[in-house]
């Protein structure tokens, strides 16, 4: 390729360009790209006692992380959580969005209510739900006259935590769906109405295919969000909870090792496993995108 000589104007533009991106690029390198390599490096190290620095241990961390039952259990727990949060969060939000996109009175009030959990700190939300789930004094058991250990029975605790997740994300998904719905031209529905298509027919034949790019985007972001869930789990599941092992997510496990136990090397290794897992999921999603999303 022939190297072109830059004009004075192009040179000036290049100077401004680099000046403007410099803070961001420096920040990204120091705060994000260096940490990626540093985390990989640390996963091969044992954290020295009393801050004595790192000791290179090769694949020892990987051997113990991959041999530990709790790693696989927490990965499995995370998938179970995602299996509740993502489909229910998406389907309920879609139905609500379709309703709120009709010409109904009072849609703003409903929208405000559904979106409310989105502006609340998950720490507070989880505290409230933990209280609702309280086996002895909680609202649910006392109103329904049951005696269910909502968050300490390993068989149902994962569902209970998943429900909090669904409750928390519905409004967010709904807002994204509404803005996607508003991009579908109204004439499609008019034409379908003239042809005598019912609302349900229209939903499956017009809304679902035309909304599929939005749906795919939401599913993908929510899936990654669900696979990295931490706040809800941390606040709801005490260290003493007997169901902890069967519910805790992989990020919770990471937090416990890296920051509660101070074993940074082991924690770093868990993160690498998590990232590898998410990369596989993302790759599968990208493959699926071609067949699942309707391209006009």
């Amino acid at each position: 390729m022939q190297k072109q000589k830059m004009t004075a104007r192009a040179k000036e533009e290049a100077r401004w360009g680099w000046l403007f991106i410099l803070p961001t690029m420096l920040g990204l390198i120091v705060l994000n790209f260096y940490p990626v390599f540093n985390t990989i490096y640390q996963s091969f190290c044992k954290t020295g006692d009393f801050g004595k620095g790192n000791q290179f241990v090769g694949l020892a961390n990987y051997k113990s992380v991959l041999a530990a039952g709790e790693t696989w259990q927490s990965l499995f727990n995370t998938i179970k959580y995602a299996i509740i949060e993502v489909p229910f969060g998406v389907v309920i939000a879609l139905v609500l969005a379709v309703f709120l996109n009709q010409k109904l009175k009072g849609t703003t009030v409903y929208r405000t209510i559904f979106f409310l959990p989105m502006v609340c700190a998950p720490a507070a939300v989880a505290m409230v739900w933990k209280w609702l789930y309280n086996q002895q004094f909680g609202l649910f058991n006392n109103v329904f006259h049951t005696n269910i250990a909502w968050i300490s029975d390993p068989k149902i605790a994962w569902i209970s935590v998943g429900v909090i997740g669904v409750w928390s994300v519905i409004g967010y998904n709904m807002v994204l769906f509404i803005s996607g719905l508003q991009e579908i031209p109204g004439d499609y529905y008019e034409a379908a109405s003239i042809d005598g298509a019912t609302g349900i027919n229209q939903f499956f034949n017009i809304t679902v295919p035309l909304l599929s790019p939005t749906t795919f985007f939401i599913v993908q972001t929510r899936l990654i969000g669900a696979l990295t869930v931490f706040d809800l789990m941390f606040m709801v599941m005490d260290k003493t909870n007997v169901a902890l092992e069967k519910v805790q997510s992989i990020v919770y496990l990471f937090y416990t090792y890296a920051f509660t136990n101070g074993n940074k090397g082991y924690g770093a290794t868990i993160v690498i496993v998590l990232v590898a897992f998410i990369m596989i999921v993302t790759f599968i999603m990208q493959k699926a995108e071609k067949t699942l999303v309707y391209h006009n």
């Binding site: 690029m25 990204l28 705060l31 260096y34 940490p35 990626v36 979106f115 505290m127 609202l139 807002v175």
Partner: protein, 279 residues
């Protein structure tokens, strides 16, 4: 059934479903407030079980937790963290977004691909080294430490780049003829026009910072330096069985953002819809 009756029936069904869902969404909020104004005896009474407080509404519970858990400090810490994160994110992202969206310079595509790559990496991989850096810089238990990972934003850069690209091309050319240099064009003409993208980014950044739990828990272990979220986690660990106090604290922690949301509802909803970021 004629079309009118069918439409009316559809509407009724929709209202019923929407109302049931709205009720389910509100139950935790209502229960949080009802518990917050009870005495602890009322809160843990099961036979009889009380929905409403029996000995009057104890609004003083809020004043009690406000003082005993030092909410003023938690509010201040949270507010400062949000303020600096929003300012830093908007400032760096608008500059970089402008350069990526409107200027031509060698290395631009390579640099922008780094921005895109960062957006695809799960943020958990950054945390240990970021913590070690904050610790080495002596910024543990400081506002600067809380702000640290949010000084720059790849997502915001991407968002603002899209904003700048959407502006008409001739605006800048007309300004160029008047003898403005690129910096002046950016400040006087281009930046003000991307106000809505900036608002989206500001709301997104503020919400993200407000909701974040792990980072403040790691870098601010001292309850005098930490944020509302991490403060709640600490309280639950220490006084988890005083239920009215816990619920009053939860109310105090969520109220500011709810009020802001009610006031700027349009901006919030549009901001989330247009940014579509991962919260």
């Amino acid at each position: 059934m004629d079309i009118q009756t069918r439409d009316r029936l559809n509407k009724v069904i929709m209202y019923v479903i929407l109302t049931i869902m709205a009720f389910i969404m509100l139950v935790p909020f209502v229960w949080m407030i009802l518990t917050a104004v009870k005495t602890n005896q009322e809160a843990i009474s099961v036979a009889p079980f009380y929905i409403f407080p029996q000995s009057g509404w104890h609004w003083e519970n809020f004043a009690t937790v406000w003082k005993s858990y030092n909410f003023l400090i938690l509010y201040k810490n949270t507010l400062l963290m949000i303020f600096f994160r929003v300012v830093c994110a908007c400032l760096t992202a608008t500059m970089a977004g402008y350069a990526f969206g409107r200027l031509h310079f060698p290395g631009k595509n390579l640099m922008f691909s780094l921005v895109l790559i960062q957006m695809m990496i799960p943020s958990q991989i950054f945390i240990i080294p970021q913590y070690l850096m904050v610790s080495k810089l002596g910024l543990l238990n400081t506002t600067a430490g809380l702000v640290f990972p949010g000084i720059v934003t790849a997502f915001g850069t991407y968002l603002l780049k899209t904003g700048y690209e959407g502006l008409p091309m001739d605006l800048e050319e007309a300004a160029g003829l008047d003898g403005c240099n690129i910096g002046q064009k950016f400040l006087k003409i281009m930046m003000p026009l991307t106000r809505s993208s900036m608002v989206s980014l500001g709301i997104f950044t503020a919400l993200f910072a407000f909701k974040d739990l792990m980072w403040p828990m790691i870098v601010c272990t001292n309850s005098a330096t930490t944020t509302l979220s991490a403060g709640l986690a600490k309280m639950q660990g220490q006084y988890g069985s005083d239920y009215p106090a816990m619920m009053a604290s939860a109310v105090l922690a969520v109220i500011p953002m709810i009020v802001i949301y009610m006031v700027f509802q349009k901006q919030f909803v549009e901001g989330i819809a247009t940014s579509g970021g991962k919260l």
